[in-house]
């Protein structure tokens, strides 16, 4: 690379600003409460997609187990909310008041030890970040230190997603089983079910996502990000240059996991329950698809990709549920065969040149550094 990209150059700033305007001004102005809440749900998936851009797009590590991380965050938050909803007064018809209803149905008479920390909100938030990081570290160090990569890593993470689902459904006394953890009411005394709460939560969600996007861009443009790309393309050369490849891989895998967990926690808050149907193989692959549609190398593309796929899913499945599955399947194939760089690639190849040309008429500096970076990225082939 001729010139190292600096963090948040003008172009990034404009792009992030545009996203911020769309999320914070345009959507709330145009959409009613119901649709806005839907967007909030989609945005929680975007956390995962942004993490996947770092991990898969830049690092070349395809994880098919992001649903597990999403679950760690989502269930963490749900456990806190459920405990708050299961106060002794609310649950006095149970044989053991004060514990979640599904535990009572499963003859559990005492709150299990691993639920105890979730009585406290600060501790819950801490755990939502720490547990996925730790889990990512354990999985990552076991695999990357042994140089498991590519297809093997994908399939092993997929198995993890399958195991997590079976475990959650099987241990229903502790997890709520296939129903998930439902009937969540208040967050630290604040009713999250009302329309005004949903409205506020949307903004919290959007701003948090923008922070994550900014952080991801920081990582991408730091030296770390460049080492990741180098690793993806020629792992051995990076290793021979004296870098510990495994450590970088572990770090980015953990980071993607933490992003996913934050998304999961926000999902629980916005949707009002957490369920094992967001953990398994299918949702985990869908999240990869969001990233792929957006363009696996583009952080902002991941957000737009998530929104686009989900808008399509909701509107198509409202009118043509059969068509939707065919469309989704076709989309996967099209993204892989025709647009390997997704929406971001389409934007860069077909839209951006026009904008650049229009700008060039006014601009005196024809060698805009940002355009160079974009060109370089365009030249880089997609992962593997």
């Amino acid at each position: 690379m001729k010139r190292a990209p600096s963090f948040m150059d003008l172009k990034d700033l404009i792009a992030v600003g545009l996203l911020a305007i769309i999320l914070i001004v345009v959507f709330p102005a145009l959409l009613d409460g119901f649709r806005l809440n839907l967007v909030a749900k989609y945005l929680t998936y975007a956390f995962v997609a942004v993490g996947l851009v770092l991990c898969w797009g830049l690092g070349g590590i395809l994880s098919l187990g992001q649903g597990v991380f999403f679950a760690l965050g989502g269930y963490g938050m749900a456990m806190y909310l459920k405990l708050e909803a299961s106060s002794v007064e609310n649950t006095k018809i149970q044989s053991t008041p004060g514990i979640p209803d599904f535990m009572d149905w499963n003859q559990i008479t005492e709150l299990p030890y691993f639920w105890q920390p979730f009585h406290s909100l600060p501790l819950t938030i801490l755990l939502i970040i720490l547990i996925p990081a730790l889990f990512g570290f354990v999985i990552g160090s076991a695999m990357f230190k042994r140089r498991v990569s590519g297809v093997y890593f994908a399939i092993i993470t997929q198995a993890l997603a399958a195991i997590a689902t079976i475990l959650i459904i099987g241990q229903q006394g502790y997890t709520g089983g296939v129903n998930g953890i439902t009937d969540l009411r208040t967050l630290h005394g604040w009713d999250i079910r009302t329309d005004s709460a949903k409205f506020i939560l949307y903004f919290v969600n959007a701003i948090l996502l923008l922070c994550i996007v900014g952080f991801a861009m920081y990582v991408r443009d730091s030296k770390l990000g460049r080492i990741l790309v180098a690793m993806r393309d020629k792992e051995d050369r990076v290793r021979f240059s004296g870098y510990s490849v495994a450590n970088f891989q572990i770090f980015v895998f953990c980071l993607a996991g933490v992003f996913a967990a934050i998304g999961g926690a926000m999902f629980t808050l916005n949707v009002g329950f957490m369920s094992p149907s967001l953990v398994g193989i299918v949702p985990s692959i869908e999240m990869v698809i969001f990233t792929a549609v957006g363009g696996r190398l583009s952080i902002l593309g991941a957000v737009y990709g998530t929104l686009a796929v989900n808008f399509a899913k909701t509107s198509l499945s409202e009118s043509f549920p059969e068509l939707w599955l065919l469309g989704l399947g076709g989309l996967f194939i099209a993204v892989v065969l025709v647009f390997p760089n997704g929406l971001a690639g389409i934007w860069r190849d077909y839209v951006q040149p026009h904008i650049d040309r229009a700008l060039k008429l006014n601009s005196k500096d024809p060698t805009d550094p940002a355009a160079n970076v974009a060109k370089q990225a365009a030249a880089a082939s997609p992962a593997e």
């Binding site: 009613d32 409460g33 119901f34 809440n37 839907l38 749900k41 018809i93 044989s95 209803d101 599904f102 149905w105 499963n106 003859q107 079976i166 459904i169 099987g170 229903q172 089983g177 296939v178 129903n179 998930g180 439902t182 009937d183 079910r193 949707v271 009002g272 329950f273 369920s275 149907s277 967001l278 909701t314 499945s317 409202e318 549920p321 059969e322 939707w324 599955l325």
Partner: protein
């Protein structure tokens, strides 16, 4: 080959045409058409989707995903009921229009679609959900936006809501009569439970176990096993059956696992003519996939069988087959789904209003004498009084009813002594 969807399309089109053809006729008889059509402002004070000529309800089931296998029958039954009600003149003089949404076998999607139906479409009632998980996901939405859900599946109980009418049986209603029968008729002493691993089988088996251990003399449970949803290998548990030799195998395995279980049971030489097996999860719908040969001789315990011999049911089965094809079968849940629109219609007419609160209040005591299963009545707790029957599976995929509870059984979603 015309798929069922094509048939559906053409049928819908035909109904639509019939509806258009009927409209001028209605104009010829203004008295008949408008005599019982009260003003919209009077019957709809909360802004539901009710006009002078139409009322909108929602149908919310899985059309795609793994649950589509089971939920298809419910959708068909609900559409049949709606078209029949419309042919009779609709509800309070208004034709029922339905908005169908796909829950896609995914619980958050169910919640999303339920909210859409209530907030955007302002439906007057929702016929829908199948699994407990989907109902649990939808329930807070229905309660928050004050909707009305007619839920058709037999389920584990432990729930009661002002906003839900449970048209299927809760667990005690379904199971206890069957257990009593099998102990009395077959002299059963030992039971082995096999279920899919989620809340309904576990709760049902818990209730069955309590009943066996606490309320019946000299009977005991010799084994209890659960398998993940979708499990297809049952040879190990079949060996355990051979080891423990229970008098009764009591099963609540669901979905594709069912097919694997019964096929492997038969292959392992366990002859259901000799070995008593009682299931609470296999209806005529499931037998379609299992194959009548593989399950003949098993007993099923539920409230409805397609073979029930009464005039209501004959009429219902004929109408169902006329609409959906000669080869379709009707299971317990399908019949319960058929009750939903009818119960709603009668409740609306009793309340004289589409308002949810008035319907919720008017529901207890509603009787449906034309129900295919016989006579049903809504209880204070929004479940149905109903009879429980035991059917013996035949080779042709139908059940022969061998026992029917003499009285209507009271629904008891929070059974004392069974928790």
């Amino acid at each position: 080959m015309a798929g069922p969807d094509d048939q559906l399309q053409s049928r819908l089109r035909r109904q639509l045409l019939m509806g258009i053809a009927a409209a001028p006729l209605a104009g010829l008889f203004p008295k008949v058409a408008f005599a019982d059509t009260p003003a919209t402002s009077a019957v709809n004070t909360t802004g539901l989707a009710v006009t002078d000529t139409e009322v909108t309800v929602g149908i919310l089931h899985s059309v795609t995903g793994t649950m589509a296998i089971s939920e298809t029958g419910s959708i068909q039954a609900e559409k049949l009921a709606i078209s029949q009600i419309n042919e009779m003149g609709g509800v309070l003089g208004r034709k029922i229009k339905f908005v169908q949404e796909d829950g896609a076998s995914d619980w958050p999607t169910f919640a999303e679609k339920a909210k859409k139906l209530l907030v955007q479409d302002k439906v007057a009632a929702i016929m829908g959900c199948w699994t407990s998980a989907s109902r649990k996901a939808v329930l807070p939405v229905i309660e928050q936006y004050n909707g009305m859900l007619y839920y058709p599946t037999f389920y584990e109980g432990l729930e009661q809501s002002k906003n839900v009418i449970y048209t299927g049986q809760e667990a005690t209603q379904q199971i206890l009569a069957g257990l009593n029968w099998v102990v009395k008729e077959k002299g059963a002493k030992t039971f082995f439970f096999i279920g899919s691993d989620y809340i309904w089988p576990r709760t049902s088996n818990k209730i069955a176990r309590k009943h066996i251990e606490n309320f019946m003399k000299g009977t005991k449970v010799v084994g209890e096993e659960y398998f993940p949803l979708g499990h297809t290998q049952f040879n190990s548990v079949i060996n355990k059956l051979k080891l423990t030799k229970p008098d009764v195998i009591f099963t609540d395995v669901v979905g594709g696992s069912n097919v694997a279980f019964y096929k492997q049971l038969k292959a392992a030489g366990i002859n259901l003519e000799k070995q008593t097996l009682m299931t609470i999860s296999v209806t005529e719908d499931e037998i379609d996939g299992i194959g009548g040969d593989n399950i003949a001789g098993a007993y099923a315990c539920m409230k409805y069988f397609q073979s029930l011999d009464n005039p209501n049911n004959k009429e219902f089965v004929a109408a169902f087959k006329k609409m959906w094809g000669e080869k379709t079968v009707i299971g317990d849940v399908t019949q319960a789904a058929y009750l939903g629109p009818w119960l709603w219609k009668m409740t609306v007419e009793k309340a004289g209003s589409f308002d949810i609160d008035k319907i919720a209040a008017a529901s207890p005591g509603i009787e449906f004498t034309k129900a295919p299963e016989g006579y049903v009545k809504i209880h204070e707790n929004h479940h149905l009084w109903s009879r429980t029957r035991v059917g013996l599976a035949q080779k042709d995929g139908q059940f022969k009813v061998v026992y029917e509870s003499p009285d209507l059984i009271e629904p008891n979603p929070f059974p004392k002594g069974y928790q």
